[in-house]
């Protein structure tokens, strides 16, 4: 009885050790952030709410406001979510919108002319953009409360 317990314990220990070695060999189960810097594509994502109501511009969105205000008409802009999504090539990142939908991002290729990134705004639009570093891709994600939701996606990586 005692011998079988010892055998069982040893078997479990060996199994766990083998699993650990296998995971370490792949280096990704716990180390999904280990990929070389060149393969990483950090993306700054900002979700804003724009409205015709007075309310000014959220200080965090001043840069975005400078880019959007010549093209789009609104009176106030407030930041609902700010997130830096650090992705490897081909990895899918997810950002939740305040209305429950999700935005999925997948960098497909990185080259001298920027990042080719696939974006899926659930229930709204799917697109493929080649965005140079620090180029903002702003996507209207539909009406929300008394205004509109907009998502700014900006690759921000070391060159």
């Amino acid at each position: 009885m005692r011998a079988s317990s010892v055998v069982l314990t040893l078997s479990i220990a060996l199994l766990l050790a083998a699993e650990g070695a296998s995971a370490q060999g792949k280096g990704k189960v716990e180390g999904r952030g280990i990929a070389p810097a060149g393969d990483r594509v950090p993306v700054n994502v900002m979700v804003v709410h724009t409205s015709d109501r007075e309310g000014g511009v959220d200080p965090r969105a001043r840069d975005l406001d400078r880019k959007l205000s010549p093209q789009l008409r609104y009176r106030s802009m407030r930041v609902l979510r700010e997130q830096r999504v650090d992705l490897r090539l081909d990895e899918v990142g997810t950002v939740k919108l305040p209305d429950g939908r999700v935005v999925r991002l997948r960098p497909m290729h990185k080259g001298p002319d920027g990042v080719l990134i696939a974006v899926d705004v659930e229930g709204s639009v799917k697109l493929d953009a080649r965005a140079p570093n620090h180029h903002k891709v702003v996507i209207g994600a539909g009406e929300y409360e008394d205004g509109n939701l907009a998502i700014s996606i900006e690759p921000d990586y070391e060159e």
């Binding site: 199994l15 699993e19 296998s22 995971a23 792949k26 990704k28 189960v29 716990e30 999904r32 880019k67 959007l68 205000s69 010549p70 093209q71 789009l72 008409r73 609104y74 081909d90 990895e91 899918v92 997810t94 209305d99 939908r101 999925r104 991002l105 997948r106 497909m108 080719l116 696939a118 899926d120 659930e122 229930g123 709204s124 639009v125 799917k126 697109l127 493929d128 953009a129 080649r130 965005a131 140079p132 620090h134 180029h135 903002k136 891709v137 702003v138 996507i139 209207g140 994600a141 539909g142 009406e143 509109n148």
Partner: protein, 156 residues
């Protein structure tokens, strides 16, 4: 590891045998997780397919002469209740949007490079048949705006 990280790792075949077995057990029990996995697999697939396809013919040349007609139709539609959507555009944006709208009307989607040209930021776009405008006025910003034409909250 978070749920998203686990999903991604499973999708990429990076989980250890034991972790994979555990995850597959969860998959069998949770339909929502299976759905998320399917969605994950689909992101970017249409992009790959689009990039493998041969270059489409230059449709822009055929569309450009029809712009005034499209513009007129746009005005009529605006009068029928879409003014709220377009009212969101500042005058500069409204001018630039015309081309994007025209293409969206004609094709329902934007082929790679149209209408901003092959050097444009937006290479492929599917708005599910909704009207869409692409503004590439500013040098370091591209705006993509879907204009009404359906329930923006429905799942795809």
């Amino acid at each position: 590891m978070s749920r998203e990280q686990q999903l991604q790792a499973y999708h990429d075949g990076e989980l250890s045998r034991l972790a994979r077995w555990r995850f597959e057990r969860r998959l069998r029990r949770e339909p929502a997780l299976r759905r998320e996995l399917r969605e994950l697999a689909r992101v970017g697939e249409w992009v790959r397919a689009g990039h493998r396809a041969p270059e489409p013919p230059d449709l822009w040349a055929g569309i450009a002469p029809r712009l005034p007609a499209a513009d007129a139709r746009r005005s009529a539609e605006s009068a029928r209740g879409r003014s709220r959507d377009l009212g969101w555009l500042a005058p500069a944006g409204a001018m630039a949007a015309t081309a994007g709208l025209a293409v969206a009307f004609a094709m329902g989607w934007l082929s790679p490079g149209a209408p901003p040209g092959p050097e444009g930021v937006v290479r492929w776009l599917d708005s599910g048949g909704r009207d869409v405008m692409v503004l590439e006025g500013a040098p370091d910003t591209t705006i993509i705006w879907v204009i009404g034409g359906g329930d923006a909250h429905e799942s795809v």
